[in-house]
């Protein structure tokens, strides 16, 4: 992601005090633990022109819950800060397509690839076909559409542990769909889905890898 953004001429900073958005806690029902993370996020990123996040579900966590969490903390300044900062927070593909209006970011990736639409990106963020448009503009890529694009891979954070059997059944459907495309790599805008899908693809020795969208967009043709 850093490589793509810098190639496009942006200055990238990485505030060292950042840790986690708190999604795992919040979605599992632990609402006290992630509350301090809202203030931490604001203090780390407040000065940024844009905050770019390589994970759709983390962005969804912030957009869908941070205002409510700030209200629960009851700190008027924090509520205002969150309100001001959130419109500048973007998922990576969203930043490229919606904020910058780009499709071709100068990438080269000569592989057969299928795209998995993560649920939070698809439904909570409304990424639409933005990621696919970015991928279509990659030189050399052979992009194949997956069947059941809108179907969850079965990760769901602690769901994969708490309901391991159902999660596995959902994952089996997803990896079957990936394999049916004949792709050598499955990409997405969310590392958690990719870790999940990769887990099964590797276990089954399918020879199909997962790769984050940013890695594809960062790839360039070697100049001799």
């Amino acid at each position: 992601m850093v490589k793509v953004l810098e190639r496009l001429g942006h200055t990238v900073e990485f505030p060292a005090g950042q840790t986690c958005c708190g999604q795992m806690h919040w979605n599992t029902g632990y609402q006290a633990e992630p509350l301090p993370l809202v203030g931490q996020f604001v203090s780390q990123f407040k000065g940024a022109e844009a905050v770019v996040v390589p994970s759709s579900s983390c962005v969804a966590m912030m957009r869908d819950h941070y205002p409510k969490m700030a209200a629960e903390i009851g700190d008027a300044k924090l509520i205002k800060d969150v309100e001001e900062l959130l419109p500048r927070v973007f998922e990576f593909s969203e930043f490229l397509t919606k904020r910058l209006g780009l499709e071709d970011v100068g990438a080269y990736y000569p592989h057969r690839v299928t795209y998995h639409a993560s649920c939070h990106g698809l439904r909570n963020l409304g990424l639409g076909d933005g990621p696919q448009r970015l991928l279509k503009a990659v030189r050399g890529i052979d992009l194949v559409e997956i069947q059941g694009l809108e179907q969850c891979c079965g990760f769901g954070g602690t769901f994969a542990i708490k309901n391991a059997d159902v999660s596995s059944a959902m994952l089996a459907e997803k990896t079957t769909a990936v394999l049916n495309t004949g792709a050598e790599a499955c990409t997405a805008c969310d590392n958690s889905c990719l870790m999940h899908i990769q887990g099964a693809l590797h276990r089954q020795r399918t020879g199909v890898r997962t790769v984050h969208l940013a890695e594809i967009l960062a790839s360039e043709e070697a100049v001799a």
């Binding site: 850093v2 810098e6 200055t11 990238v12 900073e13 990485f14 060292a16 005090g17 950042q18 840790t19 986690c20 708190g22 795992m24 806690h25 919040w26 979605n27 599992t28 029902g29 632990y30 609402q31 006290a32 633990e33 992630p34 301090p36 993370l37 931490q40 869908d64 649920c119 939070h120 439904r123 909570n124 809108e150 179907q151 969850c152 079965g154 990760f155 769901g156 954070g157 602690t158 769901f159 994969a160 542990i161 708490k162 309901n163 391991a164 059997d165 159902v166 999660s167 596995s168 059944a169 959902m170 994952l171 089996a172 870790m195 999940h196 990769q198 887990g199 099964a200 590797h202 276990r203």
Partner: protein
């Protein structure tokens, strides 16, 4: 079949992961559920796409339901007044026990020891048929799916299509056995014919009917039932006595509100533009329909749900089942795994609340929070939000020494400090080392995790943590470096 009670009871059902595991082993059931939900989903998508104002309709539906719930006491009393004025008799039931008592007494008072029933999830919720049976009253389900379940001693797995987990061949076997029709064919019309012959005789003979309600219309005191088979129309017109039982959440302020609801529900529920039968009746009329009409308004913990600001949108549900068809979890397990007549996403939020969080605590976790349910809900119930809210309630009930709670607390502390976060990353690399195995490419993988984390490695590997974290790479390279 044994004579034991076949009911879905959240107070005694196994937890969702346990029940789901059993269902996942049933390959026939999984195929049936996948097929049926796909067919309905595709039909729904087609007819929804025909309406350019679908999103406005959903919003109108949401507003009508939210307004109704905010003024429920007012509209219920208005319904009671108008229904009574039209010749109906309104009864109030605090809970399932009271509702069963009232209905049983009303059936007895009608002089009948049998009833014909319109499909009603509310009667399933309170296990009415068993209460009637215990009082010596025979109940005949007349909805085709409910009939299949009743004859097969089975339980409803879907709000709209209760026998969705059965396929045609299985239904044929049930009919052959229970209707004593060894020669029965397996074409849909053969099965429908058999059901028709079986039911027609009941419609003509039985003098008392029990129905649920899709809506109670406050403005007119009328009751609305929508259905596909016409059995409901028979039940609400032929008998001498009609007893309707409805949750207090079923009220609708104005007749005109049906304009919105009758566009939303058929498309969402069965992928139809309009339900084949829409019955609306108001009180009793000389020479037309039942001469005695009762409505039992049942609370059964709905008031408690209403009292919870974040959970109350659950009551906006109009029981269309669209969330069930769209849910990737339901798709794998079917409805019986939820241990309640309300299965799928709506069941995962409704059942624990109706149990006032004393039972069914595993249900809020029976979701990957993918949001497909929210996307299709015709009244825009934000099911993922309510699931998270209920998870919080479950966590609040946990013991402070609960292993998960302690781990979450520890991770919470780690995430609050950069120093601890860095230390945790270093520690993670050390801790995972004994579990890591190298593959042919020299990259490390974990194929077996200890304890509850072992759920992950049942069917998945986990890649080793990277040798260098992003943070370390970033600091080495320096900010703004190229």
């Amino acid at each position: 079949m044994s004579a034991k009670l076949h009911v879905l009871d959240p107070t005694t059902s196994p937890s969702f992961p346990v029940a789901a595991k059993t269902m996942l082993g049933n390959t026939q059931l999984r195929k049936n559920v996948r097929h049926a939900t796909e067919v309905i989903q595709n039909k729904r998508a087609r007819v929804v796409s025909e309406l350019p104002d679908w999103q406005q309709l959903r919003e109108a539906g949401r507003q009508i339901r939210t307004h109704t719930m905010a003024n429920l006491d007012f509209y219920l009393e208005e319904f009671e007044r108008n229904c009574t004025k039209a010749g109906g008799v309104v009864h109030w039931a605090r809970d399932a026990a009271e509702a069963k008592q009232i209905v049983t007494a009303l059936v007895k008072a009608s002089g009948s020891d049998e009833v014909i029933k319109v499909k009603s999830m509310t009667t399933e919720e309170i296990h009415l048929n068993h209460a009637l049976e215990a009082a010596g009253i025979r109940a005949y389900e007349t909805d085709l799916a409910e009939l299949i379940l009743q004859l097969g001693h089975d339980m409803p797995s879907h709000i709209v299509v209760p026998a969705l987990h059965k396929n045609r061949q299985q239904i044929r076997e049930i009919f052959q056995r229970e209707m004593n029709l060894p020669e029965l064919g397996e074409r849909p019309q053969d099965l429908a014919d058999a059901a028709r012959r079986f039911l027609r005789e009941k419609f003509l003979r039985v003098k008392t009917a029990v129905s649920g309600a899709n809506f109670l219309i406050a403005e007119t005191g009328g009751v609305c039932i929508i259905e596909s088979e016409g059995n409901g129309r028979m039940c609400v017109t032929l008998p001498e006595t009609l007893i309707t039982i409805a949750g207090i959440d079923k009220v609708l302020p104005r007749f005109q509100d049906l304009e919105v609801m009758l566009q939303l529900i058929p498309r969402s529920a069965t992928g139809e533009r309009m339900n084949p039968y829409n019955s609306i009746w108001t009180g009793v009329h000389e020479g037309d329909g039942p001469r005695t009409f009762h409505v039992v308004l049942m609370d059964n913990a709905r008031t408690e749900v209403l009292a919870d600001e974040e959970g109350r949108q659950t009551l906006n549900c109009v029981r269309c089942g669209a969330c069930q068809n769209a849910c990737p979890v339901y798709r794998q397990t079917g409805g019986l795994a939820y241990g309640s007549v309300y299965a799928g996403p709506i069941g995962a939020i409704l059942t624990p609340q109706l149990q006032q969080m004393h039972h069914a605590q595993s249900l809020p976790y029976a979701s990957s929070l993918c949001g497909a349910c929210y996307e299709v809900c015709p009244v825009k119930i934000n099911i993922p939000e309510v699931l998270i809210h209920l998870r919080h309630k479950v966590v609040e009930q946990k013991d402070t020494l609960d292993a998960e709670a302690l781990a979450m607390k520890a991770m919470g502390l780690i995430f609050r400090s950069e120093r601890r976060f860095r230390a945790a990353q270093r520690l993670g690399r050390i801790a995972e080392a004994p579990l890591v195995r190298k593959d042919g490419q020299g990259s490390g993988w974990i194929d077996r995790l200890p304890g509850i984390l072992g759920g992950w490695t049942q069917v998945r590997d986990l890649q080793q943590m990277p040798k260098e974290t992003f943070r370390e790479w970033w600091e080495k390279r320096g900010s703004r470096g190229k």
